[in-house]
Symmetry: C2
């Protein structure tokens, strides 16, 4: 079971709660080990299955991805950003601890992600591992996730077109999801160029589908189910797939993207089964 | 001249100001290109001279170090941290832009540091480059710089002993300064173990000297000279070398550390001249 395996790996990678500075390390563990769907680790493991990647390498990649994701949640929840008090059904880090600690939690988790990705041998050729570090950094930074967050902030109360909304999400969530698939696939025997391109097409589709589904859930699911504040997007006047398309067309788009993702996997045969299942898992959350 | 060389390298490494998201990229450039002493890059270049490192490799290492340093300043200046309005003689990033942008500036600069350190070939053996990424991440994170910042925050209004104060600074500024020397020295022909240890002893001494001098300057120099708010430590009730030792003994400690740094360089001969000069430069700022 990938989730429990990744949970144990994260436990090991995070500094112990009694390691100085203790409050910071307690808060880092609180932010990361508090559950979560672990979608990015699951994608990395599923992509690793394509290339017969050793599980210990996938542990490290999965941890790095989840640490980046967790840091982004902690910073996004801060008062100067989304100002949210609930995450994964518990108080957000700055509510449970304090704002300065939450800021440092995010900073420290980002460093820890790169530390983890550089701690052991993750590719037969170390030059490939350097490329993996580069890919994760690019996906995380101002031309990836952090950049998408900046566009998201600027979009509050503004009206975006569908292509503008899509561009924002390609950066904000898509970049790290694509990196999850790409990094998992770098841990084993190298894919050919055409195969790598098809895998990336799959990753783009599910990255977008993931966001469409998130918007549907934000509009439809109650806070208790969601584990975070529901209906927040509408309340903040944020453009979403639901505000632009309405729920029925947003759901149809998610299904279409699922179909595209499946199509991209054709040719991988049984090796792509877990990736196909994940496309289903991601989309059917909304149904 | 290292400073102007590094300035040009940083210009190239930072995304262009008209690259989307533009406001974020403008703010990142504002935070990094606004001057600064570039001590860490100078240390990397000086250490690189020990091992005849190619200057292009040192450019990348120097940029990565300076990007980490710049991100830490932007986050440290935020209202929930030191709440400062002046840095390098100009408004801090969250004053010039806004708090959310400043948060993302720091996040994006940290990613960019690792992107830069993984962008090209920086060591003859790529496995060494993976180790360089690991070293920078460790020096930046919760057991390095970010951890030191957490201890610093907890120390406001508290009374620290001299060993406690030293431990805080070993993390807060010492870790990145040691990494600056170590990474510069990894860009060329490998040092022997004994040489590497002596180099690290040098780095520890100047890391601490740097902080002692900073405390003296904070107590003695006017804001205009400093380019940041002077007398802030005392105003915030922060323990410093000056509050624990007084100015004369703090200056004597800085001189002692300079002597230790010079002693550690014995045996390197002329190759260590630039490192010796930097020890002088760092300490004599306070005299």
């Amino acid at each position: 079971m990938v989730q429990s395996r990744v949970e144990r790996a994260l436990e090991r990678v995070l500094p112990a709660a009694d390691h100085t500075p203790q409050r910071l390390h307690q808060a880092m563990r609180y932010a990361v080990l508090g559950g979560g769907k672990r979608v990015r680790p699951m994608l990395a493991f599923a992509a690793g299955e394509l290339v017969a990647a050793p599980p210990e390498r996938l542990d490290a990649v999965a941890c790095a991805l989840e640490l980046i994701h967790a840091y982004s949640l902690v910073h996004d929840d801060l008062p100067c950003m989304d100002d949210d008090v609930l995450r994964r059904g518990r108080p957000t880090a700055h509510v449970e601890f304090d704002e300065a600690t939450a800021l440092l939690v995010g900073d420290g988790l980002q460093s820890l992600a790169f530390e983890t990705l550089a701690a052991g041998r993750l590719a037969d050729d170390p030059a490939h591992q350097v490329e993996m570090v580069h890919a994760l950094a690019l996906a995380s930074g101002s031309r990836g996730m952090a950049g998408g967050q900046a566009i998201d902030l600027a979009a509050v109360g503004a009206s975006l077109t569908l292509p503008e909304l899509e561009f924002m999400h390609i950066l904000k969530t898509g970049a790290l999801i694509r990196a999850s698939v790409a990094l998992g696939a770098r841990c084993g025997s190298p894919l050919g160029r055409a195969e790598a391109e098809r895998l990336d097409r799959y990753a783009k589709c599910i990255g977008l589908a993931f966001q469409v589904v998130d918007d549907v859930l934000d509009a439809e699911a109650p806070t208790a189910t969601l584990g975070k504040t529901a209906g927040k997007d509408a309340a903040q006047g944020k453009p979403t797939y639901v505000s632009l398309l309405g729920v029925p067309r947003a759901k149809a788009l998610a299904q279409e993207l699922r179909g595209d993702a499946h199509a991209a996997l054709e040719g991988f045969g049984a090796r792509g089964a877990r990736l196909a299942d994940l496309a289903d898992f991601i989309v059917t959350r909304a149904f």
